[in-house]
Assembly symmetry: C2
Homo-oligomer: 454 residues x 2
């Protein structure tokens, strides 16, 4: 079966990122300071982020130039390939045309370096010599490790302890790139020491790791903090995915009827979707744009659109987003990148405005889809990506029923080379599934900052 791909030259790479804030029919709600409960100003964020990223976070400019130094490093793997999934189409016997944008070819194996590189660059430019960050499964930490060694910046990664123990390869990858990686809770911060005092065997959590990374960076003049999803500037950096895809779909002589991506914090989905939302808003297009989340952590489909903290410890800025409550602990599904209680404010806002759709899928059917994809298209995908593949296959099977020749484009966020234990568990019938416990909704939401409930 022929494998068909659409390649851009380096000259066709985007030279600016797309900022959807310029085109929103209604502006985003401001972020709130968790101490004062007042809107955050740039100065509040300066101990953590370089000023150029702080300004990008609130910019209303439609396009922001990608610095030449960032493009130089993007060229290690960009532009990425857009594939027509002919072998999958044939296996599904569908009249639908399926396309996917493959981000697994970056050195770190996912889309995450698209924002790790500019974040490292702007920090370097501001004279920062050291960054801290947190990581769950390790996709983000390893991407920052790659980016920091490109700019000769020191990096310390606080990795959720249970992942640190279960996924040693991601830690080794960070160390190969020269980063320091410690299990969180660690004895290196007050938050870590407090957690260890309470429970020396604490498995850690993303919320706690954020607290440690922030506490480490904030007081040090040589250090900043970086975040791999959720924030406006992060989604904007990721729009290179959708901007390239627009050109590649044009090369293919098609325009998508449906755009699909998996969604956790929102960075991969946003990177693909925002340029297509732009086309819907301004160019008379009418593409359905679908965010796919795990049924075990159904932020968009079952959460509440409200002001909530970004972290468990309630130290991070408060933003208006779909949330399951900042104390919600998602079940241990293998799609670690989708285990977040909240959702990027931009994605939340678009969903609230009815400009995008959302659906939730169970874990077992996502692995079934990932295996069908591997056996046809060849690539073994990350568990997160398998959510997008599941929704794509479902859409293509509906086309088989209806006879519709829909054009479906999905965002392939990365490879699954470090997730094979999950495939093994699935193939040997040992993988569990998790529905979201309905009873949790009310109890989890009682922790929202009450003064901001509107």
């Amino acid at each position: 079966m022929e494998h068909t791909k659409y390649l851009l030259t380096e000259k066709e790479m985007p030279t600016s990122w797309y900022n959807i804030q310029a085109d929103l029919p209604k502006p985003l709600a401001p972020a709130i300071h968790p101490g004062t409960m007042q809107p955050l100003g740039p100065a509040d964020l300066a101990p953590l982020f370089p000023m150029e990223l702080i300004m990008q976070e609130v910019s209303q400019e439609r396009y922001i130039d990608i610095p030449g130094e960032v493009i130089d490093i993007y060229k290690a793997w960009r532009p990425t390939t857009l594939y027509r999934a002919r072998a999958l189409e044939k296996a599904l016997d569908t009249p639908a045309k399926i396309f996917y944008k493959y981000e697994g070819s970056s050195p770190a194996g996912s889309h995450k370096p698209n924002t790790a590189v500019p974040q490292a660059f702007y920090n370097k430019k501001e004279g920062i010599k050291r960054l801290t960050t947190e990581t769950g499964a390790g996709q983000w930490g390893s991407s920052m490790a790659f980016a920091c060694c490109q700019f000769d910046i020191e990096l310390k990664v606080y990795m959720v302890k249970v992942s640190y123990q279960q996924k040693p390869y991601r830690r080794m990858m960070m160390e190969t790139w020269g980063a320091q990686c410690v299990p969180s809770p660690s004895p290196d911060t007050n938050s870590g020491r407090a957690a260890l005092a309470e429970d020396p065997n604490s498995p850690g959590s993303l919320g706690l790791a954020i607290s440690e990374a922030v506490e480490d960076a904030a007081p040090r003049a040589d250090s900043h903090y970086s975040l791999g999803s959720v924030l406006n500037h992060v989604l904007m950096h990721q729009t290179v995915i959708g901007l390239e895809s627009l050109k590649q779909m044009e090369m293919a002589g098609e325009y998508p009827d449906v755009v699909i991506g998996c969604v956790g914090g929102g960075s991969n989905f946003g990177g693909m979707a925002l340029p297509f939302v732009h086309q819907n808003l301004t160019a008379g297009k009418n593409t359905r744009i679908i965010a796919v989340e795990p049924s075990s952590c159904p932020t968009l489909t079952k959460g509440k659109f409200a002001f909530d903290y970004g972290d468990v410890a309630a130290m991070a800025p408060i933003v208006k987003m779909f949330t399951l409550g900042h104390k919600f602990m998602p079940p241990p599904v293998h799609a670690g990148g989708l285990r977040y209680h909240g959702m990027s404010p931009i994605i939340s806002h678009l969903y609230d405005l009815g400009l995008i759709e959302a659906k939730a899928v169970l874990q077992l059917p996502t692995f079934e889809a990932g295996i069908q994809f591997a056996r046809t298209e060849g690539f073994i995908s990350a568990p997160e990506t398998n959510h997008a593949i599941r929704a794509t296959i479902d859409e293509a099977l509906r086309c088989r029923e209806s006879g519709e020749k829909k054009v479906i484009l999905f965002s392939h966020s990365g490879h699954g080379h470090f997730d094979l234990a999950a495939y093994d568990a699935y193939l040997s019938g040992k993988l569990a599934d998790y529905e979201y416990p309905e009873a949790l909704v009310e109890s989890a939401l009682k922790d929202l900052p009450q003064c901001l409930l509107g």
Copy 2:
């Protein structure tokens, strides 16, 4: 630092493989039947291989067309990227220009699918429904698993037991693609049962795994056997690497003064080197072509050019090659793909004729080189590849001393995503090194088939 790459379009992909047998100044010695000690004929090989591969093995045609069905699947990842390693050059402060051809972007992560796909295709064409093969570290087995699911062929892989236990991810990868993978020795064959009877805890060996795979396939009409290196047709399939590189170097406006590749059985090195040997032989070029092997298994630099068996059990065809003796057990270096007692007859022949060079490198300096490469160029490389990187860096450092602006091209055989434990051992000072015990030379060579010593 700018990352520079040279991309071919699909239209510029080679449409035929290059067969160096057409250009050898002296023909290869014939392969010998291990039972009769007479030259092998096509009929002897028919129980194991499809006739088209058997004919390719002895063909004297300079170019052999790549079937359209193979090109269709090559397109999943080919043409591959040629990079200029500017960041590495800068770190080395060398006037040399370093280029590398990156084969790590294939679904299986190495160059091996270049031959796995045509092998599966020709077997399918001959009506074969099932293949068997052996694998050491798993690069080859996983590539065959990918290729077989593209052609809907059943695959059984005999994986050396010690690797089966130590590298479960490669086994899981094969299973994700639908192959069956069993530890060798297995209870499924006479050879396996005999080995288990002798030692139930036998760690297995590549030679034994070959015996099991051959014994399984030979008597079954529906089954054939496949091999991932050494044979003439395997090296020929791999010449897509060198043929593409020739075009890409032309795009870069350079021609290599030095071509470097790592060498175990010879398939990656041969794939890159043979088209450049062709240029040296017929187009007045004078490129140095260097095969890099581990000091622990120094087949070319310390072995003898003689007729020897391809496997430990002395059941495989006898070929004239550089060998350390078919009973030599290489030390457990992490470059599993380079742990072979012999060497492809073509590479051996070229080395004997003085048309290529060879050098041996120790394990620890190869990891040092791989880490320097990862921190500059971004990609984390397989331990095999690190041998080529070590030799490249050494050459570039010599250029720094001499001021020479040499153009160096090396073959990057694949990524190291499943080899991070070896990086971890290196970084934590726990990695051992192995010199080849000189005393072994004479004793290991006494097992050569004496009647064929010339």
